[in-house]
Symmetry: C2
Subunit: 309 residues, 2 copies
């Protein structure tokens, strides 16, 4: 017997009606915004959404507004049929897959911008990117009227911007960050990993290894500037084509950090062949950071996927 | 027996709860956003709101984000007690009167900007003003979840910007424009009219008279540039302290108009003493505009308050 097809709507009005019907029955709703090309990272968002709420909506929209003029909008991987199969299998209740004209009709002129948070890190290297993200996510949240919306910690800056935007606009949806899913070698899953050649793919996990080592050094008391400089140099030496940034920042405001005196995050972006890879790791403040080289054992293979991620 | 006091909430969460209760019962809701200092123009918005929906919410918030650094935020008239009395008398169901920290809590960083529409006319003379307006109105609309929201045509550019913003962000509230209410001598009601001296108040109605005359000239076929130049000169000669703009524009896009070949609007802003006055009138395209000076009678006292306003 064929499985029931995945219910799909293409317009904001249809999504609004579907959610209103659920709400009438008292069902809670969780939204998972995606650009498709779904991998296990996206499916972790779906799993989390299904645990949080009775109904799960996934949106699939490759948002032109968040791509720069020289970025990969045209070649970004698209396979709605494969995505639909995965979502149906995962028990998603509804797919919202609008076309560009539904989201940006003629005359569209409104932008949602988050200052500060969006002006640093990827905001410097991808001008306009986060305004494109914040605008489309605001629209999705306003239409979906969801109780929860799940975003990956892989895009950590995006997650903080979406949290800020939703709070600032009084959108009553709880923004939930979901830990990054990684390959066994540590590489964070990304739809853009497919751009890597075999050699580049072999080098790519170094990014996460250096990130973990640097986090550990800083948590053990290393000077932040020194640790970051060493990491940047190590990435360049090992063959990455450029380090856009490697930064230790406040976990919420993303402001630069001198000392590990509050919850923080280490964020990195590199170029590798045709791909631009980003990753991040938490930096946990220690009550009294011991000096570098103290007796506490240091491991080059810090356990991955621990409870904090 | 004392009248029932006006129900008042100070937080977005409380407003959301109140509206959700009404919605549960199937009541429709209309919102009237104001900055207080209520006059008959605001009360016309309330009257319209009460006709449109079962429940009427008025918001009262003097929005610092829409005042420039040299504008009148500090001295803008405030009298909540008098406003409350008027609203209770008018049968309003709920007043939302938040303080600044409720609307803009520490760390607030989000702006809603409408390009094009907000970059012309008052947008040129009051940089940032319409972003301040669009941001606070987006918040109000998102929280109130109203079926209708009423705005005065007096602030015509604001009305078009709010319509665009609500449509672009998929906010399902119908934005309703309400005709300008005028003094018997034609002066549009405004909380800022109180800034006028006696002499200035005597001159002020000339603004509307020139606006009406110019609209009539253009509708009768006068060249738009000529008519606008003549009007600007007339205003300056009669004693206004400066004409920020006098423009004939497309009624929806606010783009400059060469010929009256579609629904249009004549908008004006002048300085008069400590006050800045704005006003506008519709320009109705005629099927075949006769040449200026044709036989059609021209009246300097075009009827006011006709059905089109």
């Amino acid at each position: 017997m064929p499985a029931k097809p995945l219910a799909t709507v293409r317009t904001a009005a249809a999504l609004r009606r579907a959610v209103a019907q659920w709400r009438k029955r008292g069902d809670t709703v969780a939204l998972v915004p995606t650009m498709g090309a779904l991998h296990a990272g996206h499916m972790a968002l779906v799993t989390r959404a299904r645990r949080l709420a009775k109904r799960t909506v996934v949106s699939l929209f490759v948002n032109p507004a968040q791509f720069g003029p020289h970025e990969d909008f045209a070649k970004y991987p698209r396979d709605e049929a494969a995505d639909r199969a995965k979502l149906r299998e995962a028990g998603v209740d509804l797919l919202f897959a609008p076309d560009v004209a539904e989201i940006y009709p003629p005359g569209f002129a409104t932008a949602v911008a988050v200052s500060g948070l969006a002006d640093t890190l990827d905001g410097v290297h991808r001008p306009g990117h986060f305004t494109g993200v914040a605008t489309v996510v605001a629209k999705l949240l306003i239409v979906a009227q969801a109780d929860f919306a799940c975003f990956g910690e892989k895009d950590y800056q995006q997650l903080q911007i979406v949290k800020r935007m939703a709070a600032d606009l009084d959108i009553p949806t709880r923004i939930v960050g979901v830990p990054t899913v990684r390959e066994r070698d540590g590489l964070a899953l990304s739809s853009r990993n497919g751009y890597l050649s075999q050699d580049e793919r072999a080098l790519a996990p170094t990014l996460h290894r250096v990130l973990l080592d640097t986090a550990e050094h800083i948590e053990h008391g290393a000077n932040i500037d020194d640790a970051v400089a060493r990491a940047t140099s190590e990435l360049t030496m090992s063959g990455f084509d450029g380090v856009d940034y490697f930064a230790a920042v406040d976990a919420e405001t993303l402001e630069p950090l001198d000392r590990l005196d509050r919850p923080a995050r280490l964020l990195v972006a590199v170029q590798l062949g045709r791909a631009r890879l980003i990753d991040n790791e938490p930096l946990k403040p220690t009550s009294r950071a011991p000096a570098a080289g103290s007796g506490r054992p240091r491991s080059g293979t810090r356990p991955r996927g621990g409870s904090s991620r």
